[in-house]
Structures are given as structure tokens and as C-alpha cells.
Assembly symmetry: C2
Homo-oligomer: 347 residues x 2
């Protein structure tokens, strides 16, 4: 089915997109439908973060399902709130809709956003909807809450702290490489000879790219184990870049061990197929949305047994620099080659 | 001077744009530079609103100075917070920068945003910056604070309440008509014959379109006079449209008197020049950012003496409908012909 947006008009479209929204957070006093939403965080502090996704820069509609896109647009914001050790509670969503999109397409994006909201316990409380003369634009701002004494910033890392990372790295990046390759093959094949790309056995890295999750579970596990990180950041631009952010903000150095960097089997296999250096992919591949954090050395026994958490190195004094120790014991200075939206394409 | 953005890179650009930002609100605990900003509203409630501005839909760079554009992008958000009877306190700013823009152009937008922040006492606490493959995109989300018992929604209008509006209406719309006309003349003139458009004596309506203000002063005056509106909305889509929002949300009707609608002399003169119906312009012209609100009848003596506030009618029962009473005593049903972004151009 394909309904033209002009049939509904702006107010009609907004009504259709928002009429089924249920509010679940106690802090949400008033959601969609007034000049502003009203929220009551009581004695908690408020966190706010925002992400802008632009067609052609952050996503390619050739291979990105709209529902996944909506899901991802919400989740990348949640990830930033978790990275402050908070809990995401509300989002506002602005969408600039390109002319060729139908009402059903916009609904698919909203379905994805609302699915993410449901899974993470977040309320959609407002937004702005407009036509766009160019591509699709999605801008989401997320509010979250955190107890005052539990906020974790990038700047709190101390010498000898353990550097930990959740999950595994480089998977989203290898998923993107695969999607870009298949797109190129598809576009370079005459129409009559085209076949659907074979994505079997690559489901994990594709999902990491197209429908990532935020590590709510890690925040909950740390809390349950009474581990308060000294610093934390989410891995959106690549491990190197994020480590440098922590070291820079904390005025410290670091030593990270190549052999400890967690990498999934599918990521490794795909890197081999592409003849890429696996460590480079894990260090610089963006969009993993894992959590990178530091904990005091005395938490070692507690941390080392946590599932889905890997200790990859430790914090040093600033003068020792930021280094990667390779498998054969060589030391290299870490460089941020992370995502750069101004180079005009995904890495 | 024209510096290419790629010379600075994303992090360099962000540093340049944000290094001089000063935080002035007590509630702002942590601004730019981490995964999320941290805010402490203590016992106040939080308001959140967002606006998306897209090139070609909401603004035309042919006649919109970038600094004005930044100023307006911020102010339209502040206006939404005032319309809840709140005080804007923080914004996050996302910008998608088109390829042809220099660092200095982006700085001009930021200068405008920061000027608005300074004038209205708001802190810029975060954002997202990216290149855009298409046009310029500005998405701003604003947080504000309000005492719990002072929130004013659209839904609180009662029968016999007085309907009031601040300032005057239709000016921004007539300013836009003038700009569009001069643009057409300019583009249809051979280059050698071109002269700068003559905007003398039109400064007021141009400023209303290009650099509007939010009615902070009205909120302060109402507070000082101990007048708590029963409902309120800001006039962004046109008086008719906003009145219908209030009546719909409050389940009430209204009677508005044409002769009471405040219109500036320049607006009237321009409407005459364009051979347009003045009342139509005032009822349906968008982007005035005046405040439309209702107050209990017993506040009549207090309200009627307020400068910059005009009583234009009163709230009725729902069954009486929503009507405009013309100068000659005829009654017409109000219709929302306000701004519709999906009609693909400014009205």
C-alpha cells in the first residue's frame, strides 16, 4: 500500500504516527500534542544527547530497511545515555521526509523507533515532521536520568585503572563492507542477470551494522555488581578514537593489548575475505555501540568474571602516551582514524 | 576568508565552534564534550521541544543571512518553551552542513545561535555535526524549566475566558512575500541590469521574517501581574490554526473579532501593495511567534491595560463552534489554512 503524504497533510500524518503511543515512564507528565513535553525527573539529574542521521552520509536506503533505520536512530541515542551510566527515558524525533516517500514508509521508520522505545523502556514525547526537498533526515534527541552521584564522564580515568570493553569490536564495520560490496556488485550487473545477494552466514555482522543494540545489559550488570566505572564512553567512532577521548579528557595515557581485543568469528572471517587487517578494523571500525570503560584495579576479580566484558589494558600516566602493544610485543601509538563524516562517505 | 571544513575535520570544527561557549544556568552541570550533557532541574519540571529547519523548505539561503538563520532556529524553540509558561535553559544543536559551506559559514550560523542563547539566557550544551550531501539542515532541541503548578497547556481554556494575543500578526508572512518577490525580480533580471532590492521602509516586516523574537517579555509581564493563563500556544502556523488547536484540546469553541486582531502599519501597507486580504494574512500567515493565550474573565481589568497584549475574543462552549466575527457583524467558521510543510513551499 502506498498513501501519499499530501493526502493526510502534516497534522494528519502526525496524528497517524503518534496516536498509538503509550507512555510508560513515571517521569513523563505530558507527551506529544503541546508546544513542549513536560517531564519530572524529581531528584534525579537529566542527561541529554542528540544524533543526526542524513541520507547518503549515515545510511544508504539501497540496503537499509526503514524499520531498522528507525530502530538504529533511536538506539544510538540510548547508547550515549548508557555511556553516562544513565537510563534513557524520553526521546523527541524530527523527520525530514523526502518527496518519494509514502505514509507507509514513514510509518515503517516510526515502527522501528517505537520498537526500540518499547524494548528500552523509553517514551516518545514529541518531535517535528516536515517534507524535505532532498534526502531523508532523522534527528533524535534523547533525555535520560541518573542519580547525581552515579554520573560517569569521560574524564575520570585514574592511573592503573583497568580498561574494559563490552561485546566485540569491528563487526558493524565489516557488515558495512559486505553491504557496500554487494551493492556494487548489484549495480554493476545487468538487470536480467541480477540475483539477490547471498547474505547467509553473515547474519551477525549485518545485524550489527543495520540493527545495533545499546548495552543496557552491561550497565545493569555493573550496577548489580556494585562496580562504578571511573570513566565511560560508547564506541561509535572506533576503539582508538574513543580511548583517546578518555585519555585526553582524563589527562592520562594507556596501554592496550592487541591480543585482548574481542573480535567475533564472523568479523575475522570477513576481514580475511576482504584481505583487511583485523586489528585495524577492530580499532577503527565505527558503530559498534559497545561500552568502553575504566574501573579501579581493585575491581579486577569482580570484572574478570563478567560475561561480555573484556579487560583490554590499563591506564597509565599521561607522559607514557597512548599505546597499542601488538601480539609480538611491539608498541605503537594509537591514532584516531575513526569515522569522519566530513570525508563524505563511510570509511 | 574561507576555510574548507576538511582542513579542520569533524573534531576540529566542533572544537572551534564550541570552545568559547560559556555556561550561565545553575541547572547546567556539564555541557559540550561528553556522550551527553548533565542537567539538574532540582524541584522544577523539565520541558522539551524540538524544531527541524531544512534548506528549501523552511529557509532560502538566497535571502537569509546565516547569522539570522541561526538566531531564528534557536528562537523558534525558545518560543515553544515560553508557550508552556516555562523558561528555556539549554539547547542541543545538530547541523548537517552542505558541501559548499566554509568553516566561516558554519561559524556564522553558530554566532547567531549563540547570540540568541546569550539574549535569552540559554546554554548550548551539546549537538551533532555532520556533512550533508544535500542541503543545510539545522535541528535544535530545547530544554526548559517550569514550576510544577505553573505549566500552561493548550487544553485548559474555559468558557468565557478572554482570548489574548501579543504583539501583532501577519508581519512575518508579509516579510516573506516581499523577499520572494524581490528574489523573483532579481532572478528574472539580466545580470548587468541588476540592482540591489530596495528594502527601505520595510525593515520591520523583514526583521519579523528573518530574525523573529520569542515573547519572553510577555511571560514575565504576566507573571509580574500574577496572571496565569488557562491555556497558551505560540503562533507559528497562523492565528486560525493555533486557535483551533486550543479549542480542540480544550473541547471548547471561540468567537474572535476581526476588528480586534492587531496588525502593524507596515504589514497593512504591504498587503495593500500585494492586493491581499489583510485579515487573511493575519489569520493564516505563519511564523509570527507571538503568544496566543486565554485568561479568566475576572482578569479583564488587569489584562486590558497590558502593553503589547490585545484581547481579540472569548472562549465559548464547543457547540457554538469556532467563529470569526467580521467588522460588518458576519460570522465565519475559522479554518486552519496555516503553514503546511507538505505543500512543498512556503505559502
Amino acid at each position: 500500500m502506498s498513501t501519499r503524504i499530501s493526502e493526510l497533510g502534516e497534522f494528519g500524518l502526525i496524528r497517524r504516527l503518534t496516536e498509538d503511543i503509550e507512555l510508560t515512564n513515571e517521569s513523563t507528565i505530558k507527551g506529544v500534542g503541546d508546544d513542549a513535553a513536560v517531564i519530572d525527573f524529581k531528584d534525579k539529574q537529566t542527561l541529554v544527547t542528540t544524533d543526526l542521521l542524513l541520507e547518503g552520509v549515515h545510511f544508504d536506503l539501497v540496503y537499509t530497511p526503514l524499520k531498522h533505520l528507525g530502530y538504529k536512530a533511536a538506539v544510538v541515542n540510548f547508547s550515549d545515555i548508557y555511556a553516562m551510566n544513565g537510563r534513557p527515558t524520553q526521546i523527541v524525533v524530527s523527520i525530514g521526509i523526502s518527496q518519494r516517500m509514502s505514509v507507509e514508509s514513514v510509518e515503517a521508520i516510526y515502527d522501528g523507533i517505537l520498537l526500540a522505545c518499547e524494548r528500552y523502556g523509553v517514551d516518545l514525547v514529541g518531535g517535528d515532521t516536515s517534507s524535505s526537498l532532498t534526502g531523508l533526515t532523522i534527528s533524535i534527541t534523547c533525555l535520560g536520568e541518573v542519580e547525581k552521584e552515579k554520573v560517569v564522564c569521560r574524564s575520570g580515568a585514574k592511573e592503573n585503572d583497568l580498561i574494559c570493553v563490552s561485546g566485540n569490536l569491528g563487526a558493524a564495520y565489516m557488515g558495512l563492507q559486505l553491504l557496500e560490496r554487494e551493492k556494487a556488485v548489484f549495480l554493476n550487473t545487468e538487470e536480467k542477470n541480477r540475483v539477490q545477494p547471498d547474505f547467509a552466514t553473515h547474519d551477525y555482522i549485518l545485524e550489527r551494522q543495520l540493527k545495533p543494540e545499546a548495552r543496557k545489559d552491561i550497565i545493569e550488570v555493573l550496577r548489580k555488581n556494585d562496580i562504578l566505572p571511573t570513566s565511560m564512553i560508547d564506541v561509535s567512532d572506533g576503539l582508538s578514537s574513543e580511548l583517546l577521548h578518555i585519555c585526553h579528557a582524563s589527562k592520562k595515557g594507556c596501554k592496550v593489548y592487541e591480543e585482548n581485543i574481542p573480535i567475533d568469528y564472523q568479523t575475522a572471517k570477513m576481514a580475511e575475505e576482504f584481505n583487511m587487517n583485523l586489528t585495524t578494523a577492530a580499532l577503527n571500525g565505527g558503530e559498534d555501540y559497545e561500552l568502553l570503560f575504566t574501573v579501579p584495579l581493585e575491581k579486577y576479580e569482580l570484572v574478570k568474571v563478567l560475561e561480555e566484558v573484556r579487560i583490554i589494558g590499563h591506564i597509565t600516566s599521561e607522559s607514557e602516551g597512548t599505546s597499542l602493544i601488538t601480539r609480538d610485543g611491539q608498541s605503537f601509538e594509537l591514532k584516531a582514524q575513526g569515522w569522519n563524516g566530513f570525508e563524505n562517505s563511510k570509511k
